[in-house]
């Protein structure tokens, strides 16, 4: 189906189902129960899952396939966001021109940075991309303030021209369909939110995911994997690796731009921190954590990190009291004392520990965990391929 083989079609259908049903899957606990704290099925976080999913899928096309580790991809995310907000300021809140421009701007930006940085490889390449991104961040925060609105972040003001707005909506929309409109479904004790913005992002994420599958299975993808394993042989095979790596760099830059444009479309404000090295580092972590070079891994990694950032950081002492309240006081206080180090302001600690545990016990990232679980259940221990990573293209 769609030019995919049977296994990939199955995977794609699986991903479609999960994204379509995400509002149910993410909200497994009744809204008023103590466990509701762990529910992630509210619009903003679901949007973030898929947007950062796009970012990580794109990054994986570069890093997972070619092995070139860019530490500056946040620059493209930021550039995309700024471009999108400018379209809101100048034209209207319609997100179509904004997203198109953000992809184009990020693409052009990545052509320039990629062309220069790809003259080097290995850590030299990483540092070049880092340097470009940090320069972009520093300038966006200060001297480029007329373009970026600096510390505050670029946003739409009432006196912006918005030439095409007319009497259109005052919020970001897709030809009148407002991104923020949500409807809630109450089923017994459960409550589920269906948000237009989420589904819009989800559709684009599915397109992005589909494209990345096609790239993985294409001759181009094969060449990129060849670059990762042996560039010398590739050159002596008559192939010029530079255009291939540049193409991969620009494609992943455009994915980042798309993610940036979508972020601005869901929430029309673009802050300079989006370009900082920590943001670039985050997508690197997402990809490695999920499993670099696998199709699904980056999505998992993105979801994992965003979940911790948004859910664990919000668990505070009074929530803990709610959970452990039924226990005798001594035990309750002891448990809370232990637990509060890992939640709320301690969420970073949990994340750091999980990074370590995952990389120690699951060298292939979360995807390896998923594969192991699947193999355990199917009882097939000989199956070594991790979801297409080493699947021979010939089958």
């Amino acid at each position: 189906m769609l030019g995919l083989n049977k296994k990939d079609t199955g995977l794609f259908i699986f991903v479609i189902c999960v994204t379509a049903l995400a509002p149910f899957i993410m909200n497994p606990f009744p809204a008023d129960s103590a466990m509701a704290q762990f529910n992630a099925g509210y619009p903003d976080l679901m949007q973030r899952f898929v947007i950062f999913g796009i970012f990580a899928i794109g990054f994986n096309i570069l890093f997972g396939l070619t092995g070139y580790l860019s530490f500056g991809h946040a620059a493209f995310l930021g550039a995309g966001s700024y471009a999108a907000v400018w379209m809101f300021k100048l034209l209207s809140y319609n997100i179509v021109p904004a997203i198109i421009l953000s992809v184009i701007v990020a693409g052009l930006f990545s052509v320039i940075i990629g062309f220069i940085s790809l003259r080097r490889s290995g850590i030299y390449f990483s540092i070049l991309t880092l340097a470009f991104a940090q320069m972009s961040f520093a300038m966006a925060y200060s001297v480029l303030t007329p373009l970026t609105n600096g510390e505050t972040g670029l946003q739409v003001y009432n006196d912006d021209p918005q030439w095409l707005k007319g009497d259109g909506p005052d919020a970001t929309h897709f030809f009148g369909l407002e991104m923020r409109s949500t409807f809630e479904l109450d089923l017994g004790a459960w409550s589920f939110s269906f948000n237009v913005g989420y589904y819009f992002c989800a559709v684009l994420m599915l397109v992005a995911f589909y494209l990345s599958m096609r790239i993985f299975r294409s001759p181009f993808g094969l060449m990129l994997r060849a670059i990762k394993t042996n560039q010398t042989r590739l050159n002596y095979t008559g192939l010029n690796s530079r255009p291939y790596t540049l193409a991969a760099f620009v494609i992943s830059g455009m994915y980042a731009g798309l993610a940036g444009g979508l972020m601005a479309s869901m929430d029309p404000l673009a802050g300079a921190e989006r370009m900082q090295w920590t943001a670039s580092g985050e997508v690197v972590l997402m990809t490695i954590l999920g499993g670099a070079g696998t199709l699904l891994g980056p999505l998992l990694g993105a979801g994992f990190i965003k979940y911790f950032e948004n859910i664990f950081s919000k668990i505070n002492e009074s929530v803990l009291h709610g959970w452990f309240g039924f226990l005798p006081d001594g035990i309750e206080n002891g448990l809370i004392w232990v637990a509060e180090h890992f939640v709320g302001s301690g969420w970073h600690l949990t994340l750091g520990l999980l990074f370590m545990l995952i990389v120690i016990f699951l060298p292939g990232g979360l995807m390896e965990g998923a594969t192991r679980i699947r193999d355990r259940f199917s009882g097939d221990k000989n199956k070594k391929d991790t979801e297409g990573k080493y699947a021979p293209a010939g089958e």
Binding site: I127, F132, A138, L349
Partner: protein, 348 residues
């Protein structure tokens, strides 16, 4: 002229910190082949060794002084450090006053131990893993260390002053024949530079003149061969890591009077020190030191008003914000392996 001299001094000072951190980073990379994102955290642990010693020295006996009132109007608790009651007030205060230099003695065993535990407990298992995994695990470790420090010491900077005797400033210019007051420089910063030079010299001498150093250098040049020589490379790796940790830690201890330490100071230095290492050339110790001082000095020059306005005139405003990265790009484009890097190291 005096302004330039001042900035050179500033540059050497910043460069000292960069060079010390980069030295350990490149030592770990060159011998162990590990990309250590937790190296900034080691620097931070060093700084908090100074804080901890200061805390230990000021452990106090508490008595109530009914004369004084605290902020709630209750009788105030008066604390007398045990050191003062044991050694007499004057000596006690002197010891507390000198807590930062004393912390060097405290930090060396602590850092060696931290290095030993890190290497044996974690890093060892990652020698053969891809760099990406090393980055993930050391970054995770850095976060964990940071959070632990934050839990005990809070997020705000903690003042750790230099001893009174070294706190003032010093008319450096008079020595060189400038007018008085032209080149005034803080004493402690001069101490920091001298100390760094000593540590750097010590590390180089150690690597140059000991058998251990020879093995390490040979290992940096060709890891596989050294492994084949039947030398117990494991123990040496551990010690190398310990030395790198100690160097970063000492840099941290002595840095505390310059800037009050806080829990995220390691991350602030992490990216910069990677840039320094790469500009110097992966796997080159002299390169790391050279690049550290070079970037420090250039950064200081870029902060000069004259330089800033010059670059503004050629449409490069805020040159001081981007100078390090700009220099890194220029160096890497003109010298593919940094200033003194070798072919084939970390290029895959």
């Amino acid at each position: 002229m005096d302004a330039i001299l001042l900035q050179i001094l500033n540059g050497l000072d910043k460069g000292s910190a960069y060079a010390l951190i980069a030295l350990g980073l490149t030592l770990i990379f060159g011998t162990l082949g590990v990309v250590n994102f937790a190296h900034g955290a080691l620097f931070m642990i060093g700084a908090f060794c100074a804080v901890t010693l200061q805390k230990i020295l000021t452990i106090s006996s508490v008595s109530i002084d009914p004369e004084k009132k605290d902020f709630l109007g209750n009788p105030m608790e008066v604390k007398t450090p045990y050191v003062e009651s044991w050694f007499g007030e004057a000596t006690g205060q002197l010891i507390i006053n000198w807590s930062v230099p004393l912390a060097i003695l405290f930090a060396i065993p602590v850092m060696l131990a931290v290095g030993y535990i890190m290497e044996r407990g974690l890093i060892k298992h990652f020698y053969k893993r891809p760099h990406a995994d090393q980055i993930l695990v050391t970054f995770g470790l850095a976060i964990v260390i940071q959070e632990i420090v934050k839990h005990y010491y809070g997020a705000n900077p903690i003042p750790t002053p230099a001893p009174d005797a070294l706190r003032g400033s010093f008319d450096f210019g008079v020595l060189l024949g400038f007018d008085p007051n032209a080149v005034i420089y803080p004493l402690w910063r001069l101490v920091y530079f001298a100390f760094s030079a000593l540590v750097i010299g010590g590390v180089f001498a150690f690597l140059q003149f000991t058998t251990f150093g020879m093995v390490v250098r040979a290992g940096m040049a060709d890891r596989e061969t050294v492994g084949l020589l039947g030398i117990n490379i494991d123990r040496r790796f551990t010690l190398t890591f310990g030395i790198a940790a100690a160097v970063a830690g000492l840099a941290g201890v002595m840095y505390t009077p310059i800037n009050s330490p806080n829990y995220h100071m390691g991350m602030d230095f992490l990216v910069l020190s990677f840039v320094v290492v790469v500009v110097g050339g992966m796997g080159s110790l002299p390169g790391a030191v050279l690049a550290g001082f070079l970037l420090g000095i250039l950064e200081s020059f870029a902060a000069m008003n004259e330089v800033k306005s010059f670059f503004e005139a050629i449409y490069l405003p805020s040159i001081d914000q981007i100078i390090i990265y700009l220099v890194a790009i220029i160096v890497l484009l003109t010298r593919p392996r940094g200033l003194m890097g070798r072919r084939g190291v970390m290029e895959e």
